[in-house]
């Protein structure tokens, strides 16, 4: 598909729910290395709640539905990543509230607002080894694709590619925030757990759009 409409949102969140249910144990193990092992549980809870919320909602706009998804995540999973993800979907949704279809430009606007919301809420900088290190290249890549007039599927595929490279690069960093920060040097060499979540989200979006 070349644009997302309100009708597609339930399907997208069904796919996200499946992704995080499949990756539950992987994320638990990843967060366990320099964190508290809850990430797999909270992310799986988050997208189960978000899927249920968008199915139940009657809103006609994709942005509004993303906002509702964010709100449901805030209630379901008040962990760091839960709240940051909630903030991202709420801010991103708000940015595209007026649009009836989400093409490349709107997708770029969504991720820009998502990224900025997470930065504002979490007060991390790029390079601090957080989810922001993946959110930033996603936004940048989509903005470039929008400027170049690329179609949504191609744009998301490139964003996903940029995200996964950025995730790989987090291995070189030392954690500055959250529970991992206490481990300092021990966190070097490991990919950041929250950044991994962001990769899964954008990859699931890319696959959903490509398949649709």
């Amino acid at each position: 598909m070349q644009a997302l409409t309100a009708n597609d949102v339930a399907g997208l969140f069904a796919a996200l729910e499946k992704t995080f249910s499949d990756q539950r144990e992987f994320l638990i193990a990843l967060d366990g290395k320099v964190g508290d092992s809850d990430l797999g549980i909270t992310m799986s809870k988050s997208f189960t709640a978000a899927h249920a919320a968008v199915v139940a909602a009657a809103d006609a706009s994709v942005g509004k539905l993303f906002g509702r998804a964010g709100l449901s995540i805030a209630k379901a999973a008040p962990s760091t990543m839960g709240t940051l993800t909630a903030t991202g979907f709420m801010r991103g949704g708000k940015a595209v509230e007026a649009a009836t279809t989400i093409g490349t430009a709107e997708m770029a606007a969504f991720w820009r607002a998502y990224r900025d919301g997470v930065q504002e809420r979490g007060k991390a900088k790029v390079g601090d080894k957080t989810v922001l290190d993946v959110l930033d290249p996603i936004a940048v890549s989509l903005e470039a694709s929008a400027a170049a007039g690329k179609p949504l599927d191609e744009a998301l595929a490139e964003a996903a590619q940029a995200a996964s490279e950025a995730l790989e690069a987090t291995r070189l960093l030392v954690a500055q925030h959250g529970k991992a920060a206490a481990f300092q040097e021990k966190s070097r060499g490991l990919q950041d757990a929250g950044a991994t979540v962001a990769v899964f989200i954008v990859e699931t979006m890319a696959n959903f759009v490509k398949a649709g």
Binding site: D36, A74, P78, S79, T80, T83, L84, T87, A182
Partner: protein, 333 residues
Amino acid sequence: MKKFLNAPADFVDEMLEGIYAAHPDVTYTNDDKRCYVTAHPKKGKVGIATGGGSGHLPLFLGYVGDGMLDGCAVGGVFQSPSSDQMYEVTKYIDQGAGVLYIYGNYTGDIINFDMAAEMADVDGIRVRSVVGNDDAASSIVGEEHKRRGVAGIFFVYKAAGAAAAEGLDLDEVVRLADKARLNTRTIGVALSSCVVPEVGHATFSIGDDEMEIGMGIHGEPGISRKKLAPADAVVDEMMERIFGEQDYGAGGEVAVLVNGLGGTPREELYILYRRVSQLFAERSVKVRHVWIGEFATAMEMAGASISVLKLDGELARLMAAPARTPFFTHVER
């Protein structure tokens, strides 16, 4: 896992049901048991809210009551409550004089309390925050803003709660809470791990003859792991760090909190305090208030922490004030 519980997923809510059944002075708002509030809010008084993960009783909810706090958002075990729950507590406890949030310096809590404050702002409720960061072990001098909040938050609650009970306004309550925060240092030592019910096995492992100085109450790594030493030597090492950070001055006054992490018997806390009191006596510092017991736990974790609050006239007055909650009573003598 040897715990008295039914389904692990019900641990927190059933605990809360027990608390509400036992203590009519507390209740909940928004039909959500995890939005824990005093049953007797006082018109015109600054409201004080806290919140944080479960598994630390009497922290956090145990300090809701007269002369202390007005509400607490209750999270899962070692998990932050949601911004939504904090917001509901805020609405209930605001009695026209604004609300102060006092909570520990954990990313999840900060993010959620900030979000709740934004939500309350929409309703025109004035909210300010004081974030406890007393754990001297969790980062070096100069990076205090990165330090975790641990048992010493008790002093911040006590100062703010007494100030609010005196009828002071929000800015004054914030000033005093912040002074208590800045004047507090804590250092802990863990001897054993604990088990999160939904996880079912020990959070971390530690050798049979080892202790970890500075370990966090969720098992965050500390400063050093070494062989368990005699009690006096352990206290000396802990207090050396505290004395290195603040000068209490000959003739100065302090309040001391010796806190058990859960699995350590009260007998041992007194053996620790014996040495603490000797060290202050050597320095001619007067221990004006002392509390010894369990104030901030990590379920059945064995270990203890020592918190010291440097007193001045107004902090001494606030520490002396009466307080009464279902979990903590202080009577002025």
